[in-house]
């Protein structure tokens, strides 16, 4: 229990960050994203294969003997910081984290789960877990009909479907995937109805529940890093803008009322970084308090991302309200992320239970 998390970034993690950032700058700049989000296919062309297979980011959580990179949640967290900064449409959190961790939790070294895992790790196929994006770790969920608000289902080749009798892999082509109009256009949502497709049984109900829980826990923990990256970008852009924008014959960033808001945001980002790193490290090391640390990171970082995006819009003034400026991409992503994988209130309830701070009887 006296686990001391490593809260810094290693040189390897810094190098991975550079590689991902430079890829996203080339292939998925804000203009590219803005140009695509209303086409029904927001994923920038060629980006996923370059990220998943080229950089090897899809297999970071997967051990080498199962065809992955044998890295950890710490590295995947760095990828997510960058995807959050750029508000990139990519099935990374849903596929390379939640679905991949769910399969890993089954512990299979051969058979269909292991085969699928190897394909996911190589970036050859993509899977998502067919649960609503709001599902928190530990919340029971079983598909008995159409499932609402499944994230990135349009990008998936395979759907992992939790059913009362176990976890199934269903080819996406055999299921009905009906796109919804999402608040966050960079993360497509769909109604998924796999009831007519039998699929392949991967695990029985007990094992499936534990695996889904672990998948969602990893997702919630690493979502904090996406939120951190997003908040950091919002702060940087806001600082840049208010230094350059002149009103009343001075940069608006020289007004104390604005400076204090940005300084406060910086404090929030500093906290978010520590919390997100703690969660990633706890997941990577299998720390005994991982569940608590993930809940803390989620309870904290989801609010920071929303605050940062809202401040970004406000402190940009009129331009922050335009479709042309990317601030709205961040705002919509942050607001949707606030609901994803359990709300802050849900994670606080988890903390209350884990730390013996119960609600009134």
């Amino acid at each position: 229990m006296s686990h001391e998390p490593d809260l810094l970034y290693s040189d390897t993690e810094d190098a991975l960050r550079d590689a991902v950032r430079s890829l996203l700058t080339d292939r998925a700049g804000h203009q590219t994203v803005l140009d695509r989000i209303e086409t029904g296919d927001p994923y920038p062309a060629g980006l996923w294969s370059a990220l998943a297979a080229g950089i090897g980011a899809a297999g970071l959580l997967v051990p080498e003997k199962l065809g992955g990179q044998g890295a950890s949640h710490r590295e995947a967290a760095v990828v997510l910081e960058e995807l959050g900064r750029a508000v990139t449409p990519a099935p990374y959190l849903t596929g390379a984290v939640v679905a991949t961790e769910t399969l890993l939790a089954l512990g299979a070294t051969d058979g269909p789960a292991a085969a699928l895992l190897a394909e996911l790790a190589a970036g050859e196929r993509t899977a998502v877990l067919a649960v609503p994006f709001t599902t928190a770790p530990g919340t029971p969920f079983e598909a008995t009909g159409p499932v609402r608000a499944v994230a990135d289902a349009q990008a998936a080749d395979v759907l992992l479907v939790p059913r009362p009798d176990g976890l199934y892999a269903v080819p996406a082509a055999e299921a009905a995937v009906t796109p919804l109009t999402p608040l966050d256009l960079t993360r497509p949502l769909a109604v998924v109805d796999a009831s007519a497709a039998p699929g392949t049984l991967l695990a029985g109900p007990e094992e499936a529940r534990a695996a889904v829980r672990r998948g969602l826990l990893a997702g919630a923990g690493l979502l904090a890093s996406e939120q951190l990256g997003l908040a950091e970008w919002c702060l940087e852009e806001t600082v840049r803008h208010t230094r350059e924008r002149y009103q009343f014959n001075r940069p608006v960033g020289s007004f104390q009322a604005l400076k204090h808001r940005m300084a406060q945001l910086w404090l929030d980002v500093v906290g978010a970084r520590a919390a997100a790193r703690a969660a990633a490290d706890a997941l990577a090391t299998g720390a005994a308090d991982a569940e608590l640390t993930v809940a803390v990171a989620q309870a904290y970082c989801s609010g920071v991302a929303v605050r940062a995006a809202e401040e970004c819009v406000q402190l940009h003034g009129g331009i922050g309200m335009t479709w042309e400026h990317p601030a709205h991409l961040a705002l919509k992503r942050a607001k949707a992320d606030q609901l994803a994988l359990g709300s802050a209130g849900h994670h606080q309830d988890v903390i209350a239970a884990l730390t013996d701070l119960p609600a009134p009887a």
Binding site: P5, L7, L235, Q256, A272, V296
Partner: protein, 395 residues
């Protein structure tokens, strides 16, 4: 050239020559200073060995294991954290040799005569005057200082005073070591909202200071003071804190012990603050790891701001949670405590004392300005005081 193994050996030699069990506390501390094991990053002959600062942990571990006495750093924090680095950077050889050893052993307590009734956040506007006697070169000081902790126990003070009122405020200041036993020094306790007096007002009337006790050039005191103030920030937030280690642990304990006090509204606020406290703990731990890895960041300012807000919010919540007991106060008796524990005493005291956390050592408002300008690179507010002679400033 000094590595961990050598330091360990030197420490063991010290312990062998001066066994803590049979050596007087002060004798041991003096011997430790003379062996260069007081603060290993200080120069040889001044309590150190010119070793990397991080290696102090090696020495401390050996000494703790042997049950050696310490110098009670909390009692002499101003000397260690503020006066010593400034003496080291600006003192003459004689000054360093005279002051550093008794400062470190705690034989001589130091205090800081910086803030004035008219110079708080705007410290550079200070008006305490130091006038030089052309015949002797020595100085005579007149003025008033405030918020001076340890003034009633201090032997020496670091002092900044105005030596040229015709220059703009930052340029006419000089930095001195002041003798607190001078007959012109009068110390009066300053009672605060908690009922006690941690701090003092210090009245300086015709206080004599030899020119040898000037640190840095005449008129260069503001720059010298930056050394002091920078070290103040560095000394905050070094230790690792366990989960629920601070103020939040007090509120959580009441919540657990007294179910009859629980309400839904307070539950949500408690959890909000529990999360914030845990994140602040991670932030402090991350800062500590950065320092150990030799990558100091600006997060120190973040810690002070976060703890001020948290301490105030948590202690306020605790008073409300206590209901009837929240109406009570443990003791209003005027005292002059030598040590202050923000998490000590009862909730009412903590609530009142923590109000100072966002004022002392730089107000939260000034710290936010510093973060905005120095960390984020935002432009400063336009200023109309930088090029005006001090004597012409509005006051």
């Amino acid at each position: 050239m000094t590595d961990a193994a050598e330091l360990r050996q030197r420490t063991r030699d010290l312990l062998a020559e001066h066994p803590p069990a049979t050596t007087d506390r002060l004798d041991f501390l003096r011997a430790r200073f003379d062996a260069g094991l007081a603060w290993v990053h200080y120069p040889v002959g001044l309590g150190g060995l010119d070793a990397p600062r991080a290696l102090q942990a090696v020495v401390d571990a050996e000494l703790t294991a042997a049950g050696a006495p310490g110098n009670d750093p909390r009692r002499i924090g101003i000397g260690l954290g503020m006066a010593a680095p400034t003496l080291l950077a600006y003192g003459s050889d004689e000054v360093k040799a005279r002051f550093l050893r008794p400062l470190w052993t705690g034989e001589e307590v130091w205090c800081q005569l910086f803030s004035e009734p008219g110079a708080g956040s705007d410290l550079a506007a200070l008006g305490t005057r130091a006038v030089r006697d052309d015949a002797t070169g020595d100085w005579t000081v007149d003025g008033q200082k405030v918020w001076t902790s340890s003034a009633h126990t201090a032997r020496w003070a670091i002092l900044i005073a105005r030596t040229d009122p015709d220059l703009p405020k930052h340029r006419g200041i000089t930095y001195f070591v002041c003798d607190m036993t001078d007959p012109g020094v009068e110390v009066r306790p300053l009672r605060q909202i908690t009922g006690e007096a941690e701090f003092n007002e210090v009245f300086l009337t015709g206080v004599r200071i030899p020119d040898a006790h000037r640190l840095g050039e005449t008129g260069d005191g503001w720059r010298v003071a930056q050394t002091t103030l920078m070290n103040e920030r560095v000394s905050i937030g070094g230790a690792r804190i366990p989960r629920e280690g601070g103020m939040i642990g007090k509120a959580a304990a009441v919540w657990r012990d007294r179910p009859e006090l629980r309400t839904h509204a307070l539950h949500r606020r408690l959890l909000d603050l529990w999360v914030d406290a845990e994140v602040a703990r991670f932030t402090g731990e991350r800062l500590r790891q950065q320092l150990v890895a030799g990558q100091p960041g600006p997060e120190g300012s973040a810690m002070k701001l976060a703890f001020a807000r948290l301490n105030q919010a948590i202690s306020g919540l605790e008073v409300e949670l206590l209901a009837d007991d929240g109406l009570l106060y443990d003791d209003w008796t005027m005292r002059r405590p030598e040590l202050v524990d923000f998490t000590g005493r009862e909730a009412g005291y903590r609530y009142l004392r923590s109000k100072g956390n966002s004022i002392e050592g730089g107000t939260s408002e000034v710290l936010l300005n510093i973060v905005a300008e120095r960390v984020l690179g935002l432009p400063p507010e336009p200023r109309n005081d930088k090029d005006v002679p001090w004597k012409d400033l509005a006051r």
